[in-house]
């Protein structure tokens, strides 16, 4: 499984950066109007009043940036949570913010807030994410164990999912329910710089919280007791990973819906190249998540779906088989 990347992890990072650039260029080219590479470059850097510059800068650029930030958040937090929990099945969804953000979005749709202001939905979704974040903060500040935090996350998720079902239950017309379901399947369609300005700061705040957690996660490979005797401040580590995930993933889900599988699968893809050391998979997971997200977003524009193909669906359809493949390949070392 291990390749030369094990000795030179930066080579993988450079390769993934290149992949993100290629994906971003493709994403800028394809859509309702297909542009040539020259038109994309001209639209990006040329005078700002042409049709192609509006398409590239105002329609496609925010979508690309959001895809990169969302994918990076999901990939990085997936890797960090798997390290924190020492469990390869952990996914950013386990702490419950994705579910409460979705609940916020469903309530916004139910109340018809989307018709009042375009940002009403992401704002309500972020308020939902904030509720879960505050509960987690209260628990984390009382020195709760990781297990307690995850059980709380599962409880929060279940409650939010039940509340979502309740809201749908009370929704009088089928079209609104369909709108809710389509939102939950995830999309980056028609996202603008306003969405980016709203979610971006929270996503970046989450990233900042999680900078430098790799060393502690590495030490946790030996269990919590051994890690603490190696000088790792476990409370601080838990706090940073859980809250960093809450901020970055909460904001991500608020903008693009509950896109599954990136956070779970991407760290496993990365491990195939750089091995299992928790610190080594963090940055490549962020980059790989970003690349995967931009590519998946391009696929949602394929004519097969008549523009209705959703991001979460594309991701799961591709992600699940890849995940199964990895499970088969790593079954020896995963005992």
């Amino acid at each position: 499984m291990m390749t030369g990347f094990y000795k030179h992890p930066w080579a993988l990072n450079v390769g993934l950066l290149g992949l993100i650039l290629v994906a971003a260029l493709l994403s800028a080219k394809f859509g309702q109007v297909d542009l040539s590479t020259a038109q994309v470059i001209d639209g990006m850097f040329g005078p700002g009043d042409t049709a192609q510059s509006i398409i590239v800068r105002e329609l496609r650029l925010p979508r690309i940036i959001l895809a990169i930030m969302a994918g990076a958040s999901l990939g990085y937090t997936g890797a960090a949570l798997q390290g924190l929990l020492r469990n390869p099945l952990a996914d950013p969804g386990v702490i419950g913010v994705s579910a409460t953000a979705s609940l916020g979005a469903v309530i916004a749709i139910y109340m018809g807030l989307t018709a009042i202001a375009p940002l009403a939905l992401p704002i309500t979704a972020m308020l939902g994410a904030l509720v879960a974040t505050i509960i987690l903060m209260v628990l984390a500040s009382r020195d709760a164990s990781v297990l307690t935090l995850i059980l709380a996350g599962i409880g929060i998720s279940s409650l939010a999912t039940a509340a979502m079902s309740l809201v749908m239950n009370f929704t009088p017309n089928a079209i609104t329910v369909q709108e809710m379901v389509m939102w939950m399947l995830g999309s980056l369609e028609n996202r603008t710089f306003d969405d980016l300005m709203l979610a971006g700061p929270f996503i970046v705040l989450g990233w900042l919280l999680m900078i430098g957690v790799g060393q502690g996660l590495n030490a946790l490979s030996l269990g919590e007791e051994a890690a603490s005797t190696l000088g790792v401040d476990l409370k601080n580590l838990r706090w940073r990973v859980i809250l960093g995930t809450a901020f970055s993933v909460g904001a991500t889900v608020s903008i693009c819906g509950a896109v599954g599988f990136v956070g779970l699968v991407v760290p496993h893809i990365v491990r195939a190249f750089v091995g299992f050391e928790p610190r080594r998979i963090l940055l490549p997971s962020a980059l790989c998540g970003a690349a995967v997200m931009v590519f998946a977003d391009i696929l949602t524009r394929l004519p097969v779906g008549h523009g209705q193909l959703r991001l979460g669906v594309v991701m799961a359809i591709i992600g699940a088989p890849v995940f199964l493949l990895i499970v088969f390949k790593t079954r020896e070392s995963m005992r």
Binding site: R86, G212, G214, Q215, G216, N218, A219, L220, S221, L222, G223, E225, A226, S228, T229, L230, G231, V232, D233, G275, F276, E277, P278, S333, M334, R335
Partner: protein
């Protein structure tokens, strides 16, 4: 210059209360550089808790722990980590990492969050892996090792810290006789290099043969402490373990084994 009065790990009046139960009651002992001290006693006597309280994994309710004259409370987590290395009981490894990476984790207290292992760290890692006979398996994945190999690797991991004191919680548990002996021999080598070694152990014969001093705990208090001959008396062993023992000499070494239950009631 070392200060013979303050040198060593000193535990004074250590008391631990967990869930309303007295786990340790005013336990005092010390550990000098270069000696092997065995912490013995029946199950539930508080041996592991004593180690964990020294390491601040378990909160002590009372007592002063000092290292070379410095109160441990005044040391930050990293400074404490540099001075006290720990081999937990049945230590888990959660990811299939190579043996060398696992041993390298022992250098964590010496690195800032961004720092990679340097040449000096690599040298230490290689040295401790050679002492523990792990060097030949450095590229193997730790989850594929046998129990004996794994315990040597985790011992090497603790030694890689380069701490002046090493605390091991039943390092020979669930090992076959050969590997038990190997681990005890390594402990002696570590002590010979000037490290103070504190071992929680159950094997009374090993306690007699490999330890310079013993601390016998029962019910959370020190029943006896001193040289193995002073501590492992028939009276102490009957009081602590409720067993009678047999003793014999071979090759000029003393041996001791539990022989029968003191009294059937």
């Amino acid at each position: 210059m070392s200060d013979p009065v303050n040198d060593g790990l000193s535990v004074k009046s250590l008391s631990v209360l967990l869930g309303g139960n007295d786990i340790l009651r005013k336990v005092s002992f010390d550990l000098k550089p270069g000696e092997v001290v065995g912490l013995i006693g029946p199950n539930g006597a508080g041996k592991s808790t004593a180690l964990k309280a020294i390491l601040d994994i378990v909160q002590a309710n009372q007592g002063i722990i000092s290292i070379d004259g410095n109160n441990i409370k005044g040391l930050g987590p990293k400074e404490r980590a540099k001075r006290l290395a720990y081999v937990p009981q049945g230590a888990p490894v959660h990811w299939p990492l190579t043996v060398e990476r696992i041993v390298g984790l022992g250098r964590t207290p010496h690195l800032n969050p961004w720092q990679e292992l340097g040449d000096a760290d690599q040298q230490i890692i290689q040295d401790v892996m050679q002492v523990t006979d792990c060097w030949s398996m450095r590229d193997r994945i730790v989850t594929t090792l046998s129990g004996g190999e794994r315990s040597r690797v985790l011992l090497a991991r603790a030694m890689a810290v380069g701490a002046p004191y090493l605390l091991a919680d039943e390092p020979t548990a669930s090992l076959d006789p050969l590997h038990q002996l190997q681990v005890m021999e390594i402990m002696r080598k570590v002590a010979a290099a000037g490290v103070g070694v504190l071992i929680v152990m159950h094997d009374l014969s090993f306690a007699l043969r490999y330890c310079d001093r013993l601390v016998l705990l029962t019910g959370g208090a020190v029943l006896a402490s001193g040289t193995p001959d002073e501590v492992l008396t028939d009276a102490n062993l009957e009081a602590a373990f409720e067993v009678k023992v047999s003793r014999w000499d071979e090759d000029g070494e003393q041996f001791l084994a539990p022989h029968r239950v003191k009294a059937l009631s």
